[in-house]
Structure formats: C-alpha cells, structure tokens
Symmetry: C2
Subunit: 305 residues, 2 copies
C-alpha cells in the first residue's frame, strides 16, 4: 500500500523547523500557497497577447496567446483580429469531452491579404531556446519523458542524447487553444481555432499548433450545447453560436483593458504549489503524491488598478 | 526525436502477413477495431446495474453501476432508487472542469429506513478478488504503478511485494460516478452522487467511493450552466436542475428497458483497440505511442432487439 504523505517543501518545512515542539501541521493547501505568494511571483499578461472574444450573447472569453511557441500562427491571428475577421463568424463545433471550435462556417470567407496561407507546422519546438531553469518538472514518463511547466505553459519533452531536455511541445490541457488544420501538410492558418473542454487529448500533442489558452470565460464555452453532427459539428446554421467580435486587449482604450496576472512557473512559490496540488490535505485521506501536468491548474488572477 | 509509429498488434499484422508484397497499410483506426469486433467481445449491462435518471427537462442519463467495486454503496443506491428517493431532488452543483453533483439540496430529506448510514469506505480494493488476466494494462507510473482496465472499468494498482498487482482503485475518468461524502471518516451513503465533467481529477482516487459511470447522456450533464457559488454550487433554488426520477432499468417493463453493451476489456479486440488509440493514423502525423487510461474511451453501444 502506497501512502505518500510527502510534505510540501518550503513553507511548511520552515514552520516545523521554527517550532519543533508543536504538533504536526497539516501540509499547506494550494490556496494557502497562492495567498502566501509575493507580487514578484506573478507576471502580467501583455495586452498584445490577450484576445477578447465577445459572443453574440454578450459572454466574454479571454485568451492568452503563446508567441514564444507558435510565432507564425500567432502572427496570423494578430492579422485576423486587426482585420476584425472573426466578427460575424461563429462557434460551429462542440464535441463532448473534446473541443469547442470556431471560425467561418462557410469556409469561403476571404482571409486578410497579409495572412500567411501556410505558416510553419509549429507543432513542436527545440528545448534549446529555453534555459533549463525555466522548466519546472511535474511528472515523468506520461506521454513524454518529462512534462511540466515552461514559461507559464504546460509542456512535454523528450530527452536528448545526453539526458537533457530534447524536443518539446505544448500540452493539450483543459482550456488550451489550438489551430484547426486540414490533412497533413496543411498546418492551418489560425482562422479556425479550438479549445479543449474535456480530458486532455494528449494524442493531439505534436500533431497540431497550440497557440494559447483561455484565462477567463471557460464556462461560456464548456457549457454550450453539444453538436449532434459528426465530430460534434452543429447540424443547422441556427444552432451555431454567433461571435460578435475578437479583439486584442491592446486595441482597447487603456482604461477598458482587462488585466490578468499569471503565477510565474520558474519560482519557488510555483514549485510549492505543485507540491500542494500533489499532496492535498484537509478533506483528503490519501494524498496522491503526484499530479498530472494538466491537473496543476496554474493560478491566474484578474487584477485591477 | 521520438517517432513512434508502432503498429497495432493483431488485425493489421495479420493483413500484412497475408499480402507481403502490397504497400504498407496504415495502422487500424479505433473505429475499425470496433467494426471488426465479434459479438463475443461485448457484454450486456445487466438491467439491475443500470440507472435511468430523468431530468425535469426530459433529458435522460444512463448510469452503469459497479457492484464489484463498491458493493455496500451500490446496495444503498438500490434502496434509494427503489424508494423513489431522488424524485423531486435536484442537480445542485456544476463546477467547471470538475464535477456535476446531485441529491437533496436541503440535506434534510429523510433516507429510506434500510439505507446504511455508514457503509464501508469503499475507496480502494485488493487485487486478490480478480484474476490477473482480467486486467488489461494501459500505462505505468502515472499516479499508480500501473493502470488499465479491469472487468470493464478503469483501475489503477500499486505493486505488491512480489511485483504483482497490489491495492487498486477505480479511476476518476470523465463520466465516472462517485458518492459525495463529508469529512473523514464519513464515507457518504450514496444519496449524494457526482460525475466527472473535466480532466480526470485523479487526486480523488482512493479518497472517495466510485460506484459507476455515465454510459449515455453525458451532454445533458456536462453542458449545464456552471454554478457561481463556492465549489460550483448553484446560489439560488431557481438555478437547480430538477430530477424527475431515478429508476433501475430492471424496474421498467421489459419492452421499455434500454439495453447497452460494453466492449469486454479482457479481450484481444480491446487490446487492439488500446493500441489503435495509442497509435492514431490518418489525420495524425505523430502517433503518441501511448494513451492515458482515461483517454481509452471504452466502446459502449446501445442495442435493440
């Protein structure tokens, strides 16, 4: 029987050292780690990387883009948003336990002239562009040799010949946003986007370009009626969910820009948070002693001036 | 770079052997494995293990119970259904990327007299009750030493001292149904049930009794509006989703009983299916070479006479 009551490193261990005669303290809870974090443990989401999608219903979905990992697709998305291209398009596919997908249902709407028809197939990347200290490992041997969080994003890596980080890719966790594509070698332009609304479909990793994640508004997407056509596509135009607009926060007047902060994933606070997520206390009787990279639930918070 | 284009065993290998001069054939797709399966590869869901939950909207959710794994809780659920106890109760909690939970919102409705107030804490089980051949392994080292499918259910196991299967538990995959409980040592009666509507919350494994899974009707639960209260509870009575009734299929007239079949998980067909899910072909350019136990997507089909 495996009973891993491993203590989170850091905060609790320190408390114990200071007061050795007191009774054992329960391991810290994830929300306690967040509450104890410092301002420096967070980074803002740049407004030029934040998409504001407004549905016809008025519901708003905020998406952070990941230009470090899919620069050509993200550049196309910038061009599409600047041209107001998504205004009047729709959500066309809602497949249970899989994805919500949006774009031009007719597939006939001309793209802005500056959109690159065939960007690079940004499905994977070399670890070389990142410092090893930027990667906080969460688990080994699940789909890839190692997986964890890299510059605030879930990522999986092979090992290189010397045991270091080899080829990597972002990971299809709940809420991640990718670019729909046709058959190989078509990598998609970025006009057709999807987000994950179920158990992480890791078989898509390295097969399609991940470009971002929803940071607010998932319920507006995840609770949509499921499509009854093949692959969860809506069968009639009436079922489609209208998209009023998609804009970059940087295009909004400064006073109206939504502002978010993301916990930095190269910090001791984040590593404590992973430990706390791995070793839940309180209601739990048997801490797992481990956590899936997609169960870490990166802390993200909305901030105001 | 890891490029695992492993071939599924079985069907495809046989085809290749029969026609060695033909060009390579793409690995079988999961749906092809299902289409090629034999009737003997399936087992019916017994009507006395099938719950029919009818919502106030008329939507119907079918739940298969797992008496092999949580017999005392399942027996309580039988008593509750026989007493029509859930009629007029409601879905009270919908937490995004986590669970939908239902039962008596007032927490004051008396339980039927024969319901056991404190059943055993059926959070885990010994492997000894199962033959090793009943377990089809899917992956190693993710939360537990090994995980796979056992008698049609997702299960994770530790190793025993001799390297065999040790203590096990069912796994919180999408659609699995469990019994809400209070603080330890309260194991819950079965009157409060939940189902997973997001990425598998594996930290709940061995912490709570799993008693079944939704076999039809997940969209009726997963697309419900998310609750805005703590833990996704609805904040007002008006938001709650009425439950008209929960009955066992065995209580319905025989002609009206819904009938389902589940692919047997101790078969060569299922092992081929796992391989096909691990090595997707067609649209995919980089088969994963592996699959999460919760991404297997056990084939379940509705049958008629």
């Amino acid at each position: 029987m495996k009973r891993l009551l491993a203590l989170p490193v850091g905060a609790f261990a320190l408390i114990a050292a200071q007061a050795p005669e007191t009774p054992p303290v329960a391991p810290a809870q994830p929300h306690e780690i967040v509450a104890a974090s410092r301002l420096a443990d967070w980074r803002p989401i740049a407004p030029e990387n934040l998409l504001v999608m407004t549905l016809g219903s008025g519901a708003i979905v905020m998406i952070e883009l990941a230009p470090d990992f899919a620069p050509e697709h993200v550049e196309n998305i910038r061009r599409l948003a600047r041209a107001n291209w998504w205004d009047g398009t729709s959500i066309n596919r809602v497949q249970d336990n899989y994805v919500v997908q949006w774009g031009d249902a007719s597939e006939a709407k001309p793209l802005p002239a500056d959109v690159v028809a065939t960007p690079a197939a940004e499905y994977a990347f070399a670890a070389g562009g990142f410092a090893p200290a930027e990667f906080s490992e969460v688990q080994q041997g699940h789909y890839t040799a190692t997986s964890g969080w890299l510059r605030g994003w879930p990522a999986g890596f092979d090992r290189d010949a010397s045991g270091g980080l080899g080829e990597g890719s972002l990971v299809h966790c709940y809420g991640m946003v990718g670019v729909g594509r046709g058959d190989n070698p078509d990598p998609g332009t970025g006009a057709e986007l999807y987000t994950v609304i179920g158990h992480a479909p890791r078989h898509l990793d390295r097969n399609i370009a991940l470009v971002g994640r929803v940071v607010e508004g998932m319920p507006a997407l995840s609770s949509l009626p499921r499509g009854t056509g093949d692959l969860g596509f809506y069968e009639t135009p009436e079922e489609r969910i209208a998209i009023a607009s998609i804009r970059f926060a940087s295009e909004l007047p400064e006073a109206e820009r939504p502002r978010f902060e993301v916990m930095r994933t190269d910090t001791e606070a984040f590593r404590r948070y992973i430990d706390a997520r791995s070793n839940r206390s309180g209601w739990f009787v048997r801490p797992a002693g481990a956590v899936d990279v997609c169960n870490v639930n990166l802390p993200i918070r909305r901030v105001s001036d």
